[in-house]
Amino acid sequence: MFQLANERVEKIKSEMQRYETKQSAIIPALYQVQEQYGWVSKEALDFLADLMEIPVAEIREVFTFYTMFNQKPTGKFHLQVCTNISCSMAGGRELTDYICKKLNVKPGDTTADGKFSVSKVECLGSCDTAPVMQNNFEYHENLNEAKIDQIIESLQKLN
């Protein structure tokens, strides 16, 4: 049975009051789950559907539309490389390939040691410093291969 901490349930309930429609609280609700578990399972979606009295398909639409919600557990460092237009034009896709090759993973997957996950995401709202990548909540801008090497090296050292 899926469970969510009481204060998170309360938070979701109050978010539902905040907006004109309770659908507007779907994103905050998904965040509550993701903050507790690091990802959002299908059981979590059913749980939210019951809690919020919103059809589960509607919640899933929002959940799968946004790349910031994790559909499976991620590694310790979740590298989210932007491959939307500005970043793609500035080499974002090639950088993703570079990172994947370096870490020996496929986009969307996690390294065997559980340390890194790599995923392609949509616009991170930082087009002026493209290409951009987010490690968990931290931004890395104006990227190139040398910078990637540095970032990964320093993350490898953190344990």
Binding site: A57, E58, R60, E61
Partner: protein
């Protein structure tokens, strides 16, 4: 009323009319996928492009209201070019597997392509592959890469059934229609999404791969599945009957029908029919022509006085058949005429959409026919007279849709208390094994006539392809049993 000009034709439309409706009203073709008259406007397919005089750019007809004096058109090169490109975008990731697609022949993509196709596509990227043959339960199969994301099916489950099983998941070129975790889509109206899907993304499990649609004829009639009387189209060819789809009637079923009604053609097909009359004899059984069997019954009836004969009706025959039957009942002279009401507990049920608990297309018609002759014997009287032996011969006009008569066995046992039981039926039933005469009847697609629905609306049914050509209508059977000859060509 508002005046407007559509492709040069001046017409008047009601206030609030959308331009796309004005096109339909003017009889002008307009390409569209996402708009459906029974659903809300989505405006996502961008195919219904129009030029409005005085407007700087093209607009979509489904989301633009007609204003007084509006001049709109969709026959300029500019519009045609826009539709052509719109269509090409729809085809970017479409698999084009028409040869194995059930929708072929009635597919929106195919239809529009004939008019607006690029024929030489300029897309160089590889197609995004998506999931095929997704099983959505016992009724529906989903092919996500054929979907053009018009969202009709999503709006249907949101707005009509209010069950909201469907959604559009993921985004961009990976967007996919589906249910949460592929849960079955099995609400009572689910198959309507197959009809409204403009492409072959949603197909019916029952109909899939049975026939190519261009080998089917169809005729409109009325569903005999319940007292709502949805208007439907039945599809058939020389091999039999294959499917039923709803036909628009704004006063009765709008654009929809229930999924139970989709099965009303099954009992019609030959493999399920009673082909010959069966007479029980000392030696076992004897097969007879239906007409000969009815004449046989006529001579049997002569052995009894008129008040020893009872007739039991079900609400599954046409008004015209009841009328004829009453005439011959007069001739037989009996007043012992009864109405077998099936599942009386759920008789008044209504699901709030279409489905009614009265699983008879013509209960109202039967009641009216009985009242017209002041025939008001009760079921208790029938039981009492069967038990006392006062009734010697029962003629049962049995149900065409037997599955809705769960008490068939029980009732036959009751009627069998009479010395002779004659059952008129389009289909065999294990419960009929020991009846004295079993005479084949026509089904609702093999005769003309009308049904009166729960609200008193009289609707015509049509004669389509005969499956059992010797089968009788109720009127014919009663006529023969009353000792009259059938007139050649008089058959309904």
């Amino acid at each position: 009323m508002l005046k407007c000009t559509v492709n040069g034709k001046e017409i008047e439309v009601a206030e609030g009319t959308m331009v796309i409706e004005a096109f339909k009203q003017a009889g002008e073709d307009i390409a569209h996928y996402c708009w459906h008259p029974g659903l809300s406007v989505a405006g996502v397919c961008r195919l219904c492009m129009i030029e409005v005089e005085g407007a700087p750019r093209l607009m979509i007809a489904c989301n633009t209201q007609v204003t007084e004096g509006m001049v709109v058109s969709n026959n300029s090169a500019k519009v045609q070019e826009a539709v052509k490109w719109g269509l090409d975008f729809h085809l970017i990731n479409h698999p084009l597997d028409c040869p194995i697609c059930d929708q072929a022949g009635e597919c929106g993509l195919q239809d529009q392509y004939m008019k607006f196709g690029q024929y030489d596509p300029e897309m160089a990227e590889r197609k995004v592959k998506k999931r095929k043959v997704v099983d959505l339960g016992r009724k529906i199969v989903l092919d996500t890469e054929r979907c053009i994301l018009c969202s009709r099916c999503v709006r249907f489950t949101d707005e009509v059934t209010k069950t909201s099983e469907l959604g559009i998941f993921n985004r961009g070129d990976r967007s996919e229609i589906g249910t949460h975790e592929d849960k079955p889509l099995d609400n009572d109206y689910a198959v309507n999404v197959v009809d409204i899907c403009p492409v072959g993304a949603l197909t019916s499990k029952d109909f899939r791969f049975k026939q190519r649609v261009w080998y089917l004829d169809n005729d409109s009639t009325v569903c005999n599945g319940c007292s709502t009387g949805c208007n439907v189209n039945v599809y058939y060819n020389e091999k039999g009957y294959f499917r039923v789809k709803p036909e628009h009637n704004k006063d009765i079923n709008d654009y929809w029908m229930c999924d139970k009604g989709r099965n009303i053609f099954k009992h019609v097909n030959k493999e399920n029919r009673l082909l010959k009359a069966i007479k029980k004899t000392e030696a076992g059984t004897q097969m007879m022509a239906p007409g000969a069997a009815a004449k046989d019954v006529a001579s049997l009836i002569k052995n009894y006085s008129s008040d020893q004969v009872a007739v039991v009706f079900t609400g599954q025959y046409t008004n015209e058949e009841y009328e004829d039957a009453m005439m011959y009942i007069d001739k037989l002279g009996t007043k012992k005429v009864y109405h077998w009401v099936n599942n009386s507990e759920s008789f008044d049920d209504f699901d709030g959409i279409l489905l009614r608990g009265d699983k008879n297309p013509n209960t109202a018609g039967l009641i009216k026919a009985l009242e017209a002759k002041s025939l008001n014997s009760t079921w208790e009287q029938l039981e009492a007279e069967l038990n006392s032996g006062a009734i010697k011969l029962v003629i049962l006009a049995g149900p065409e849709l037997q599955e809705y008569f769960p008490d068939i066995q029980e009732k036959i046992q009751l009627f069998s208390k009479a010395e002779n039981l004659v059952v008129l039926s389009s289909n065999p039933n294990p419960a009929y094994r020991d009846v004295d005469y079993l005479i084949p009847m026509k089904t609702f697609v093999e005769k003309k006539g009308s049904f009166t629905n729960f609200a008193g609306t009289v609707q015509k049914i049509q004669k389509m392809r005969l499956v059992v050509s010797q089968a009788l209508s109720l009127g014919e059977a009663m006529q023969l049993m009353a000792g009259d000859e059938l007139q050649i060509g008089a058959s309904l």
